[in-house]
């Protein structure tokens, strides 16, 4: 159990830094989270189709992809849109995050 935790935390280290980097270059706008969530979901969908060693599995899937993508910031950003009366943007943000990633990953699974 200790070794998997170590692997997951290595992935988590790089995943969170990559997401933070995207947030910074998008001036902390939700675009950074949007890109991280979609690309992270696509990467996870792809990784689950390939043979990975145990260590790589923990590092890349649960660690990296799990930490690179985020739901808490997604929820916070959506609520901030709604508090600013930008309901259309909030709706678009939620729908596009889910539909785009679900669509691409679904295609990866059936391809």
């Amino acid at each position: 159990m200790l070794l998997p935790i170590l692997y997951v935390s290595i992935g988590g280290f790089f995943g969170s830094i990559a997401r933070f980097f995207l947030a910074n270059i998008s001036n902390a706008s939700p675009i950074g989270t949007w890109i991280a969530n979609i690309t992270g979901a696509v990467l996870l969908g792809f990784l689950l189709q390939v043979e990975l060693s145990n260590a790589l599995f923990y590092i890349l899937t649960i660690g990296f992809c799990g930490a690179y993508t985020t739901f808490s910031t997604f929820g916070k950003e959506t609520m901030e849109f709604m508090l600013n009366d930008q309901y259309g943007l909030a709706f678009m943000y939620v729908m596009s995050s889910f539909i785009v990633s679900f669509g691409i990953v679904y295609f990866i699974y059936i391809a």
């Binding site: 992935g11 988590g12 993508t69 990633s101």
Partner: protein, 148 residues
């Protein structure tokens, strides 16, 4: 000459600070990802029907904690900017996940599309409710502290 040296020193200092912030976020991410992993491995939510309740649990709790700490000046002021970013963006950001929701929903959709849609809508609705509750709780706490 003096000015350019001074400028170089400032630029270097800024780079060091930036590097420290990134590493702090990374350390937060290590803890957050491990917590998510531990919670979803030990708390056997998954056996409860076919809905992925472990992911649901971490996402909803994380959504509440993030807005609660961000909208609460007391908590925000208790930490340095670096530590706060490590805790919010790093730890809570990595504790919750989006990629797993999508993959779980797709795997569900192969057996029951309706359950997959229910899972995603449920996560969004309860997640937004948790985010809102975090804001409300933080605002209420701030007001009460201000009045007393």
């Amino acid at each position: 000459m003096v000015i350019s040296l001074k400028y170089t020193a400032y630029a270097r200092h800024a780079r060091v600070l930036k590097m420290r912030l990134y590493i702090a976020v990374g350390i937060g991410g290590m803890i957050g990802a491990s917590l998510r992993f531990l919670l979803s491995s030990f708390i056997l939510f998954e056996s409860f029907g076919s809905l992925p309740l472990a992911t649901f649990f971490v996402n909803i709790t994380g959504a509440f904690i993030l807005t609660f700490m961000t909208f609460s000046p007391t908590i925000k002021n208790a930490f340095s900017k670096t530590t706060f970013t490590a805790l919010s963006t790093g730890l809570i950001g990595s504790y919750t996940t989006f990629s797993t929701i999508i993959v779980e929903a797709i795997e569900l959709s192969f057996t029951q599309m309706s359950l997959a849609i229910l899972y995603m809508i449920g996560t969004v609705l309860f997640g937004l409710l948790a985010s809102l509750l975090g804001i409300v709780a933080a605002t209420k706490m701030t007001k009460e502290r201000g009045e007393s």
